[in-house]
């Protein structure tokens, strides 16, 4: 059941990415290009997704526990620290260079564009490097890691 529902959740997420245009890097880059070929569509993706999640979360949080697990596991970290800002900035730069964030990169995989095929392994390598950097603690001088 966990596998089936996991797959189904991912499928719906992926359909959302495809239908919204978010899985198309050209659309993302145009959203970020305020001074050029600006396409505000992605603001509608965010609005639709956030509003749905905002309402839906409050409905499912009425339960004591999630359906297929023992407890809700929400990020406990609330400090706005250096890794958060630096990480978000690096991510934003990469997003602006390639037009892909992690979800769309996965969803774009079966279309086998050469750009996707090199982006995804590079992203996995980056995730590994970033996680190593975090665990080595050199970016969190104030002990801000979880």
């Amino acid at each position: 059941m966990r596998l089936v529902m996991g797959f189904f959740s991912g499928l719906i997420f992926g359909l959302g990415l495809v239908i919204s245009g978010m899985a198309n890097p050209a659309k993302v880059l145009n959203f970020l290009d305020l001074a050029g070929t600006w396409d505000p569509s992605l603001a509608f993706v965010m609005a639709g997704a956030m509003t749905t999640a905002f309402i839906g979360y409050r409905l499912v949080w009425r339960r004591k526990a999630p359906v297929l697990d023992a407890s809700f596991d929400l990020p406990a970290q609330s400090r706005i620290d250096r890794p958060l800002i630096l990480g978000a900035a690096l991510f934003g730069i990469g997003w602006g260079i390639g037009g892909f964030c992690p979800g769309p990169a996965w969803a774009a995989l079966p279309l086998l564009a050469p750009g996707t095929l090199v982006f995804l392994p590079a992203m996995l390598a980056g995730l590994w490097i970033g996680a190593r950097a975090r665990s080595n603690n050199f970016l969190a001088a104030k002990g801000a890691l979880q």
């Binding site: 880059l29 839906g56 999630p66 037009g99 996965w106 980056g126």
Partner: protein, 152 residues
Amino acid sequence: MELAVETAFTPWASLAGGVLIGLSAVMVMGLFGRIAGISGITAGFLGAIAPMTRAPRDRDWRIAFLLGLIAAPPLVMLLGGTVTQSVPRNLLRMVMAGLLVGVGTALGSGCTSGHGVCGLARLSRRSLVAVLTFMAAGVATVFVLRHVVGAV
């Protein structure tokens, strides 16, 4: 260098797609009690990335989730829909982009979905700061690449 590809403004399709993304985030929370952050799910799938994935026991649904993501475009095409996509063709550029996205989301503990959708829906201050930061960085990067350097 590549030319910017013009894209049509699609408010309704984008809103509808966004609702589906939000619905999926709600499903992940309601079923597994987790944030549907794709960078986190990917890290959980990688497994080797210990600091980002707390419990290996819930690697199962993450792998299934990623398979679901990958299955979406073929399903759309099977149903007769078209999947429009234009990926930058400069491979060196895409390798750099991938590395930055990976490192950045690992350090910043989240991406567009985790911070953007789930975090903002939880009214997390940390996520708001992350979203404003990566949006600003993305806009600045595209501005520099397209309008200063002239590399689209």
